[in-house]
Subunit: 223 residues, 2 copies
DNA sequence: CATAAAAGCGAGTGATTACTCACTTATTAC
DNA sequence: GTAATAAGTGAGTAATCACTCGCTTTTATG
């Protein structure tokens, strides 16, 4: 009775209420933009509403006209990114595309996946920063991230992997381990490019880095 | 001209000042323990000094008797973990061991590395949580982490990799890409075990998971 | 045992926090 | 054109923040 809304319910409910940017006032857009900037720089808790107001060129009261609490701003910032990440796995017609693609060699599928996700991350760097930061503390956000994005991706990926194993294209390893390898390589790619090793990464183009990563994923590093 | 202390200087200086737990008073140990608990649960900024005092069973004034500011507590919490992570790459005699090991097959070296680091993470879960969380915002911590731990590890690993390539044990890939593959697999292993996929991970033992990961790293997933 | 230093205390500090509310200005609907 | 609704304001609020300081208690030293 009255059990708290699950990941999908909570998120999707919020998504329903999500306004399109076009139907916001100028000031409201400024508030969001300022919040993204400050949250990404100093974190949610370290950014005060008075700072946000100043950065947005708005009275502090205006903020609470649009968002009933500070945390509400965070959700408004984070939800769209979560949706973008989750979308490919939620939307049915994209699943269809995935099915069509299942005929392609696994290497090509993964290459396309890495390319796609890398672009997504680069284009939404700040938002993703905020999303990850806050996923550390806010259970709702972390659970939404894992349940919505990760679990769905896992199910789809493992199906594909098992099919490819049956087709003799991949080695008969536990699909769990293969999925981890695919995802790890992707995370590593993003992490090195964006955080850890920017300089050395740039010695090759994105396309080359992806190709090397897929090559190693498929064929290993041993001679 | 008064240039800011580099990673190693700054860190090592702080480490010098690090008290051993044994030479702390009961209350001071309680303060640290309480801080670790709260920082891990709610983050640094969201934890107030009054909460820490209450959790530690101590007057708020006592905290500032031992730590001159709240941020000082964070550094006292984080520094020992940073040292643990960095130690293998800083200590010279460990480098020697690494040289001896260089004769072993690459797969064995990596297996040992994964085993070692996985234990480290499991044994220091909360501290590492705090370290990563705060590395997002505090430049000093992030830079210490990258400069001290990552860069040193990279240099050592790439030397080893290049030696193994020359010896014909590894494929002649850019050592950068190989290093990324090795580290990505390790991060993925930890991430799946601790955060993303606890349940399914447990279907195999740590030792089995490591073995599969190394197998995939060396030989790839393709047939 | 005497004395000094360190550890511990908690009421009190000004600054800042998220948020409210009575009010004004702009937009929409008929 | 006027009534109603929404958007915007900024002074004000109680609570909380990190931190201080005068004081007491404990521990170490000779």
């Amino acid at each position: 009775m009255n059990k708290p809304p699950s990941f999908a319910e909570g998120l999707l409910q919020y998504v329903e209420e999500l306004k399109d940017e076009s139907e916001m006032t100028e000031k409201q857009r400024n508030i969001l933009r300022a919040s993204v900037k400050l949250f990404a720089e100093k974190g949610f808790h370290a950014s005060s509403t008075s700072e946000i107001a100043k950065e947005a060129g708005v009275a502090e009261g205006t903020i609470f006209r649009h968002y009933k609490s500070k945390k509400d701003i965070l959700l408004a910032v984070v939800a769209p990114v979560l949706v973008k990440f989750a979308a490919p796995f939620i939307l049915k017609d994209v699943r269809e595309i995935f099915k069509e693609r299942a005929q392609k060699p696994f290497g090509e599928i993964v290459t396309e996946l890495y390319r796609n996700r890398l672009n997504l991350v680069v284009a939404n760097e700040k938002h993703i920063r905020i999303l990850l930061q806050e996923a550390f503390f806010h259970d709702e956000i972390r659970e939404a991230l894992i349940s919505t994005v990760f679990e769905d991706a896992k199910v789809m990926a493992q199906k594909l992997i098992e099919a490819k194993v049956d087709a003799g294209e991949l080695r008969p390893l536990p699909s769990q381990a293969v999925f981890r390898a695919v995802l790890s390589a992707m995370i590593g790619l993003v992490l090195f490019r964006q955080v850890l090793d920017k300089d050395d990464y740039a010695a090759y183009s994105d396309e080359e880095q992806i190709a090397m990563t897929v090559d190693i994923l498929l064929n290993g590093i041993a001679k």
